[in-house]
């Protein structure tokens, strides 16, 4: 349910006590719900994280939308359409969850369109070939699943519930992608080369999806304290690598990392250094597609404005006729 009412004002003295009680609830694994008292900093933190997550789902439709009309078969096209529709749904669940904290949908979209709010940098890379669609499902949705499963137990109730729903839907996204790549990797030499090329381009950006090392992630400490997150960026990234490398082996594709090797002692894969300069460059707006993505979102919003207004006017007119009758 939405937080329709403003939280009550409290004095500074009360505030300290409330904050202690809040942390005790978090520590006791009680979910925080919209109308519960929460520190203003927690509220802001959650709005920022949930809206960024929503924006990622929302912008994430664009690279794949690029291939709907060129999907090679009707089966692939139906799957791709269904996946993209799911991503729109994921954005909607998350925007609603953020709205329970007192922000509005319009405010969030404005912050996205102005560039103030961020979204996952992975969506600033282009989808050049059909193999990119398979690779996105396999790696990008695969990485998203690892991140999102970890968030199913996050402390804010509406966010956790949205994550549970989203996780249920993500599995097919990854599997349809893997099926595409399997077909290409076991196909003609040109098809296999296309799959390898896509893996070469998406592997490192996919690893970057888990965010900077925790030591370089200024928000990590407070996120752990509030149980917004429970596993470190590096731990989740390692889990993804360990899950994915055997899949690449199965496909007969080569992960583009000369330092990648199995470590018998740790029971994990060791992998090479991530180019964090590239990561920050793309976050700050200089990726290949940052401008395109924002332009597409802005114009979709602006071009649709008349529809939103007309629907409201129609609803008002219907109400008026009904009350006149």
């Amino acid at each position: 349910m939405a937080g329709v009412e403003k939280p009550e004002l409290v004095t500074a003295a009360d505030e300290a006590a409330l904050e202690v009680a809040f942390q005790a609830r978090v520590d006791a694994e009680t979910r925080i719900e919209p109308r519960d008292w929460m520190p203003e900093k927690y509220r802001k933190f959650m709005v920022r994280q949930i809206s960024q997550h929503a924006h990622s789902e929302y912008v994430g439709m664009l690279p794949e939308g690029n291939w709907i009309t060129r999907a090679p078969t009707l089966r692939r096209k139906a799957a791709l359409l269904a996946k993209i529709q799911d991503e729109a749904g994921h954005a909607a669940y998350l925007y609603s969850a953020a709205e329970t904290l007192g922000t509005s949908r319009d405010q969030m979209l404005e912050d996205l369109h102005s560039g103030k709010a961020k979204y996952s940098s992975i969506f600033n890379y282009p989808t050049l070939t059909w193999a990119d669609i398979g690779t996105i499902g396999w790696l990008v949705d695969g990485a998203a699943i690892v991140n999102q499963v970890a968030l199913c137990r996050t402390s804010y109730g509406p966010y956790a519930r949205a994550m549970v729903r989203i996780c249920k839907e993500e599995s097919f996204h990854q599997r349809q992608g893997f099926e595409i790549i399997t077909t290409l990797a076991h196909g003609a030499p040109e098809q296999k080369a296309m799959a390898q090329d896509a893996l070469n381009r998406w592997w490192w950006p996919a690893l970057m999806m888990f965010g900077p090392h925790d030591a370089d992630s200024p928000n990590s400490e407070i996120a752990f304290k509030w149980k917004v997150k429970r596993q470190s960026n590096d731990d989740l990234r390692q889990r993804f690598v360990d899950m994915t490398v055997p899949q690449a082996d199965y496909l007969g594709l080569t992960v583009p990392d000369p330092d990648l090797k199995w470590n018998g002692e740790t029971g994990q894969y060791d992998f090479g250094a991530i180019d964090w300069e590239e990561f920050w460059r793309v976050v700050k707006g200089d990726g290949l597609c940052n401008r395109d993505r924002l332009d597409a979102r802005r114009s979709a919003h602006e071009d649709g404005a008349w529809v939103r207004e007309a629907a409201l006017a129609h609803a008002a007119k219907k109400r008026a006729t009904k009350s006149a009758a």
Binding site: M1, Y93, R308, R319
Partner: protein
Amino acid sequence: MTTRKEWPLWEVFIRSRDGLHHKHAGSLHAPDAELAIQNARDLYTRRSEGVSIWVVPSAQITASEPADKDSLFDPAASKVYRHPTFYTIPEEVTNI
């Protein structure tokens, strides 16, 4: 600049199968009740999750205060005699 005139917020309740209660599924924006149901269909039943939908304007919902939780719900905790296990029945008596 776009004008700030949002579609109102609705709470969505879904009956997942005949014979079950409607259960809160989430919320969404829609200009009116009819489109709220359409949007709820697209948003919450893409995989046959429902056979019936209720939509309620979020502003119409009155909720209990979190601060009243203890005074509202604690009294029930001590009334164990409202549960069947409170009562002792001889072992040889069956079907009760």
